[in-house]
C-alpha cells in the first residue's frame, strides 16, 4: 500500500460480523453441518467487533480527518452489523454478500476483505480479536498476511502517531501482563474486549445511516477462493454424567430445575 499524506486524510477499515445472539438455544440442522435458523433467530453484532468500531470512533474523535469504513462479509443478514456500525458513527459501509448461509471459512472472509482493501489505502485495519460464534480469531491476522502488513493481536491499548506513521500497541497476554509493540502504518490490529466502552448507536446516526449509500458487492461461490478447510459435522456436547439427572418431559424437567434453583435460592 502506498502511503498517503497523513496530515490530511487517514482511513480506517473496521471488519464486523453479524452473529447469532449467544443466549439463543441452538439446534443443529438436518445436514449436521450448520445451525438451524429462521426468521425469528436473533442476531447481533459480534461483541468483539463493537470494541473495534468504538476504538475507530475514538481515534476519529482525536484526529478529525479520519474516515471510518466498515465492512462485513456474509449473507444478507450481515448488513445489520454494518448498519449498526454506521449508527454508532462510522462513515461508510461495505457489505460483501456471499451466496450461501452456513460456514464461511476465515480464509475466504479474509481474502475477500483483503482484495477489497488492497487498492484503497487504508492506514489502519481493525477487527475484533475473534468472533463469538466460532472463536477462531483468524480473519485479522490473515488479512495482514494477505496484504503483507504488520499485525498485532489482542490489542488492549493503542496510541496512534499519524505523523510518525506508527502505532504503539499494548497486547494483553497471560497473567495480566502486557506486551508492548510499535508497528509501522499501515497495520492490522485485532481488538480485545475491555479496551473501551462501546457506545450505543444514536438515533441521529441511525437516521443518517439511512441516507448513506451502502456499497454492496456480490460474490458468487465461484469467485470465492477455495476454503482451506470444511466442516465435517456439528454436534452438541455430550451430557456430563455427574449430578442429578432429571426425568420426564421437557416441561416437567424445566419445572423441576426451576424448583431446584429456587430451593437453593439461586433463582427467586
Amino acid at each position: 500500500m502506498p502511503s498517503t499524506p497523513r496530515a490530511f486524510t487517514m482511513k480506517i477499515l473496521v471488519c464486523v460480523k453479524q452473529v447469532i445472539e449467544s443466549e439463543t438455544t441452538i439446534r443443529i440442522d438436518d445436514s449436521e453441518k450448520w445451525i438451524h435458523t429462521d426468521k425469528s433467530t436473533p442476531y447481533r453484532m459480534n461483541r468483539f467487533d463493537e470494541f473495534a468500531v468504538e476504538e475507530a470512533l475514538l481515534i476519529k474523535e482525536k484526529f478529525p480527518y479520519v474516515t471510518i469504513d466498515v465492512i462485513s462479509v456474509g449473507p444478507a443478514i450481515s448488513v445489520m452489523a454494518v448498519k449498526r456500525a454506521l449508527g454508532m458513527g462510522a462513515d461508510h459501509g461495505i457489505h460483501i454478500i456471499t451466496e450461501q448461509e452456513g460456514y464461511l471459512s476465515p480464509y475466504v472472509t479474509a481474502s475477500l476483505i483483503a482484495s477489497f482493501a488492497q487498492d484503497k489505502n487504508f492506514d489502519l485495519i481493525l477487527a475484533g480479536v475473534m468472533a463469538e460464534d466460532h472463536m477462531q480469531g483468524q480473519v485479522g491476522p490473515m488479512i495482514a498476511e494477505l496484504l503483507s502488513l504488520p499485525c498485532a493481536t489482542s490489542t488492549i491499548f493503542e496510541r496512534l502517531s499519524p505523523n510518525n506513521g506508527t502505532v504503539y500497541v499494548e497486547r494483553e497476554i497471560e497473567g495480566g501482563l502486557r506486551d508492548t509493540l510499535e508497528l509501522s502504518l499501515p497495520a492490522v490490529l485485532t481488538i480485545q474486549t475491555g479496551i473501551n466502552k462501546p457506545r450505543y448507536p444514536s438515533l441521529s446516526n441511525v437516521l443518517r445511516a439511512k441516507k448513506q449509500k451502502m456499497e454492496t458487492i456480490e460474490v458468487s461461490s465461484s469467485e470465492q477462493p477455495e476454503p482451506k478447510e470444511r466442516v465435517v459435522r456439528l454436534a452438541l456436547p455430550k451430557k456430563s454424567r455427574s449430578g442429578v439427572v432429571l426425568e420426564g418431559t421437557q416441561q416437567e424437567k424445566a419445572a423441576q430445575l426451576l424448583q431446584i434453583l429456587r430451593d437453593k435460592s439461586i433463582l427467586t
Binding site: 449508527g87 441521529s204 441511525v206 437516521l207 445511516a209 439511512k210 424445566a254 419445572a255
Partner: protein, 380 residues
C-alpha cells in the same frame, strides 16, 4: 393510513430496549425499594439521547419525530424500566424542556435545551397547587411585575422532580382577577433567592421519581425568564397535553408488555395440580385480557403521536379517551398480573408488584379520570 414502523424505527427500538436492559433495569428494584431518584440512570438516558430525542440536533437533540419519541418511551417500559424513572423523564423532557423549546426565545432555548437534553440539568414543571388541582385555573401563585422583574409568591404541589430539579417551568398569575387568561409562564433556576423545594413525598408508586412542593417567597425573576407573552401560560400548559397523552403514557403501555412477558413465563413455569397454570382457562384469559389492553392502548397513543407528526391539532376527545383508557382500563391488567403470580405477585421481588403500584398514578397525574370523563361527555 399506514400503521407500519420504518426499519430505522425498529432498529432504534431494539437499541433502546437493549440499552435499558443492560444499563438501567438492573438498578430499578433497589431504587424503587428505597424510593430514591436514580441520578446515574437519568444521566445515562441523556447520554443515550433519550432526554432530547425530539429536539433539533443543534440543541443537543436527534430530530426525532413524535412517533419515534413515543416509541422510545414505550421501549423503556417494555425493557422493564420503572414508572418512576419514565415519569421523571416525561416531566423533564416534555413538561419542562419542551415548553421552553416550543414557546421560548432563541436565547432561552440555547441556554436551557442543550443542558436539559444531555441530562446535565434536570427540569420540572409546576402547575398544580395545594388548592388548585383539577381546577387549575383557580391557582393563586402570583407573579407581580416590578420594573423589569417579576416577584413570585405562592406554592406548587406534587411537582415531579421538584427536589432534584435545576430548572423549573412555573405557571403563575400575572393578572389576579382573570382565570385562564391571567396565567403566565416563567423559568426559575435552582438557587434563585426565595425559591425552594419541599421534602420528597413518600408515595405508593413511581417511587424513584421525587415529588415535592415548590415554594416561592418573594422570589425575584428577571423579565427575560418570562416564556412567551404574559397571559399565554394556560395555553402553553394545555399544549403539553399532547405530549402528556402520548409520550408520557407510552411507558405505561410498554410496561404492560414487560409485565405480560413476565406473566407468560411464570404461567408456563408455575406448576399446580400437576400442570403449568398456563393450562387453566382462567389464567389464559388473564393473559389475553392484558394483551387486548396493550394493543388498544398502543393504537390510542400512537394515533395521538401520528397526528402531531402530521401537524394536525390535538383532538381533545381522542386525548381524553386515551388518558382515561390507559389510566382506568390499565388497572385491571396490572391487577391480573399480580393475581396470576399468586403470593409471589404480592412481593417486591416480582416486578408485577411494582407495576401495580406504578400504574395507579396513570388515572391521577396530568388530569384525573373524572376530568377526562367530563371532557369526553362534553365533546360527544
Amino acid at each position: 393510513m399506514d400503521f407500519s414502523f420504518t426499519e430505522e424505527q425498529m432498529m432504534f427500538k431494539e437499541q433502546v430496549i437493549r440499552f435499558a436492559r443492560k444499563e438501567i433495569v438492573p438498578r430499578v428494584q433497589e431504587h424503587d425499594l428505597k424510593g430514591e431518584f436514580d441520578f446515574e440512570s437519568f444521566r445515562k438516558l441523556g447520554e443515550f439521547g433519550i432526554l432530547g430525542l425530539h429536539f433539533p440536533e443543534n440543541l443537543g437533540g436527534s430530530d426525532a419525530d413524535v412517533v419515534t419519541t413515543v416509541m422510545a418511551g414505550e421501549s423503556l417500559g417494555e425493557a422493564g424500566v420503572d414508572g418512576g424513572l419514565t415519569l421523571a423523564y416525561g416531566a423533564h423532557t416534555f413538561l419542562c424542556a419542551d415548553t421552553i423549546f416550543a414557546h421560548g426565545t432563541d436565547a432561552q432555548r440555547e441556554k436551557y435545551i442543550p443542558k436539559l437534553a444531555s441530562g446535565e440539568w434536570i427540569g420540572c414543571m409546576g402547575l398544580t397547587e395545594p388548592g388548585a388541582g383539577s381546577d387549575v385555573a383557580s391557582m393563586t401563585t402570583r407573579a407581580e411585575k416590578k420594573g423589569d422583574r417579576y416577584v413570585l409568591n405562592g406554592n406548587k404541589m406534587f411537582i415531579t422532580n421538584g427536589p432534584v430539579a435545576d430548572v423549573a417551568v412555573v405557571y403563575a398569575k400575572t393578572e389576579k382577577e382573570l382565570k385562564h387568561a391571567g396565567v403566565s409562564t416563567f423559568i426559575v433556576e435552582k438557587g434563585t433567592p426565595g425559591y425552594s423545594a419541599g421534602k420528597n413525598f413518600i408515595k405508593m408508586g413511581v417511587r424513584t421519581s421525587h415529588t415535592s412542593e415548590l415554594i416561592f417567597e418573594d422570589c425575584i425573576i428577571p423579565q427575560e425568564n418570562l416564556v412567551g407573552q404574559e397571559g399565554a401560560g394556560f395555553l402553553m400548559a394545555m399544549q403539553t397535553v399532547e405530549w402528556d397523552r402520548s409520550a408520557l403514557l407510552a411507558p405505561f403501555v410498554g410496561g404492560m408488555t414487560y409485565v405480560l412477558n413476565k406473566c407468560i413465563r411464570y404461567a408456563k413455569e408455575r406448576y399446580q395440580f400437576g400442570r403449568p397454570i398456563a393450562q387453566f382457562q382462567a389464567i389464559k384469559h388473564k393473559l389475553a385480557d392484558i394483551k387486548i389492553f396493550i394493543e388498544a392502548a398502543r393504537s390510542l397513543v400512537y394515533r395521538i403521536a401520528w397526528r402531531k407528526d402530521q401537524g394536525r391539532p390535538l383532538n381533545h376527545l381522542d386525548a381524553a379517551v386515551a388518558k382515561l383508557f390507559i389510566g382506568d382500563w390499565g388497572l385491571g391488567p396490572a391487577n391480573d398480573a399480580v393475581v396470576l403470580h399468586g403470593g409471589y405477585g404480592y412481593c417486591h421481588e416480582y416486578d408485577v408488584e411494582r407495576n401495580f403500584r406504578d400504574s395507579r398514578l396513570a388515572p391521577i397525574g396530568g388530569g384525573t379520570s373524572e376530568i377526562a370523563k367530563k371532557i369526553i361527555t362534553k365533546l360527544i
